[in-house]
């Protein structure tokens, strides 16, 4: 029988705070705060200070949440801040909402889409975009809105194709901006 009070296992019904560094890790497979901050910096060039005021939490296997304050650990609630990242798989995957919220200043792996491409992306369509010469994997898809670059969400770029990962509930049939 599993001991649901064990501190070295991951429990789906509560939020557990991430350890500061890999050395502080008690729960196997749980990323550390340092690894999460480093990942956003390495992948998208985000300034680590972006997350200075945030605490990071895991609920369920590999679902990482960010919250801009202290909170008791562990905590049994339905939601704690914003789900920003899915870990515990080969390639970590950022959430659409986190990319929209934090990646306006991203400097790496940002694919800027034309009005027509942006429209297809948010409708959930995959598209051949052979002109991309950067990394494969998860990219920030962005377009221009009101005079500035604005992140749309997460695309998975493989073999010349950009797959939209915009969740069904967020997909929209929008008109093309000229």
């Amino acid at each position: 029988m599993r001991d649901e009070t064990a501190e070295d296992e991951n429990w789906g019904q509560q939020f557990d705070r991430l350890p500061e560094t890999p050395e502080d890790r008690v729960v196997e497979g749980r990323p550390s705060r340092q690894e999460v901050v480093d990942w956003w910096e390495e992948r998208f060039g985000l300034d680590p200070e972006t997350f200075d005021h945030y605490t990071f939490w895991e609920k369920g296997a590999g679902k990482i949440w960010a919250f801009p304050a202290e909170m008791v650990d562990p905590i049994q609630v339905e939601g704690l801040g914003m789900r920003i990242l899915r870990t515990r798989q080969r390639h970590w995957k950022p959430s659409t909402n986190a990319v929209q919220r934090f990646c306006r200043d991203a400097t790496k792996n940002v694919i800027e889409l034309s009005p027509g491409e942006a429209k297809a992306f948010v409708a959930g369509h995959d598209q051949q975009l052979d002109w991309w010469e950067g990394d494969w994997g998860y990219l920030v898809a962005a377009h221009e809105l009101a005079g500035e670059r604005e992140p749309l969400g997460v695309g998975l770029y493989l073999h010349g194709e950009l797959r939209s990962t915009v969740p069904k509930g967020r997909q929209e049939d929008l008109k093309k901006l000229d």
Binding site: H53, Y54, A66, F67, P68, A69, E70, M71, V72, D73, I75, Q76, V77, E78, G79, L80, G81, M82, R83, N97, Q100, R101, V122, L145, A146, G147, E148, E150, L152, G169, R170, E172, D173, L174, K175, L177
Partner: protein
């Protein structure tokens, strides 16, 4: 009988009141300042040729002339949120500040909750609670789309809301707390004030329902006062005209909990009426005049009731 007839003695212009209640409401959006500025949101709407008019009492609340909120780029980016104009009042009365601890007792689907988050600059702790699990998914969806990160979502009955999850019994733990700075009680109600959006509410209206929700409202408001620190604020709001659900609820709680009604600043250019101290055979605490009633004909909105309490002790 049209239940609105009950309120004819309360309004200054009966004819204008009934006429306004017949008209449909315009489509209104609030600019989400967590993700953009009012200026950029307006620019994006202009670029798309979406016509709108700024309300004369709040720069971030825009009336769309013929569009629905959910089909344009600024909406997709979470720059806009469809919210009935008058429902922006409770958060304004609450006046939440960045870094505070705030509880929204009946939060789903989250228009007011996300407005509070924006007023807190997305900093501090905002607990959004709802007793209905299905409605909580709408709250989470809206909060995520608007980029809110300071929201803690809970699923409790607000009448006996437990502070245990927040470390009430372990005050030495980092982040533990047992009281809030501010609480919003936007209570379940008979919703007569939403008749311009949903005329069915008038067909389904019964006095039994009014009495039953009034009981729930009293329970939630009492609990809200109990978990607010001395000097903190509790805002009580409904979208109904019924004094049984408004002033009578305040009167009940004023008598039993350590709190007082206070004035709050209704925005300039927004017209409202004082709370009523007499209704049918009842009399209420004279301070209920500090509450504000909003009738549809005053600002061409839905109907609303908002009161602000200060916790003593």
């Amino acid at each position: 009988m049209n239940p609105l007839q009950r309120y004819a003695p309360l309004v200054d212009d009966e004819e204008a009141f009934f006429e306004a209640c017949e008209r449909p409401l315009p489509s209104v959006v609030r600019v989400n300042t967590i993700k953009t500025t009012v200026e950029r949101a307006r620019e994006a709407l202009d670029d798309e040729g979406v016509a709108y008019e700024q309300t004369d009492w709040h720069p971030g609340i825009l009336k769309l002339e013929d569009s629905t909120a959910g089909t344009n780029w600024p909406y997709f980016h979470g720059w806009l949120h469809g919210q009935e104009e008058v429902s922006a009042l409770p958060a304004i009365a609450l006046d939440p500040q960045p870094g505070e601890r705030v509880w929204d007792t009946c939060a789903a689907p989250g228009s007011k909750t996300t407005q509070i988050a924006a007023m807190m600059n997305d900093e501090g702790v905002l607990v959004g609670n709802d007793n209905n699990l299905g409605r909580l998914s709408a709250l989470r969806h809206n909060a995520e789309r608007l980029g809110v990160t300071n929201l803690v979502v809970t699923n409790q009955d607000a009448r006996n809301f437990s502070m245990k999850p927040f470390g009430e019994q372990n005050p030495e733990k980092p982040g533990a707390f047992d009281q809030f700075d501010r609480v919003l009680v936007d209570a379940p109600c008979s919703c007569e004030g939403t008749c311009r959006k949903n005329p069915d509410v008038l067909d389904e209206w019964t006095m039994n329902h009014v009495q039953s929700v009034a009981g729930i409202q009293k329970g939630i408001l009492r609990r809200a006062v109990q978990v607010t620190k001395p000097g903190g604020s509790v805002v009580y709001s409904t979208c109904t005209f019924a004094p049984e659900e408004n002033e009578a609820v305040l009167d009940f709680v004023l008598e039993r909990e350590d709190c007082e009604l206070v004035e709050w600043d209704v925005p300039d250019a927004f017209e409202a009426s004082p709370g009523v101290t007499e209704w049918e055979d009842d009399e209420y605490d004279p301070s209920v005049t500090k509450a504000r009633r909003v009738y549809p004909h005053q600002n061409d909105t839905g109907g609303f009731f908002t009161a602000k309490l200060e916790v003593q002790g």
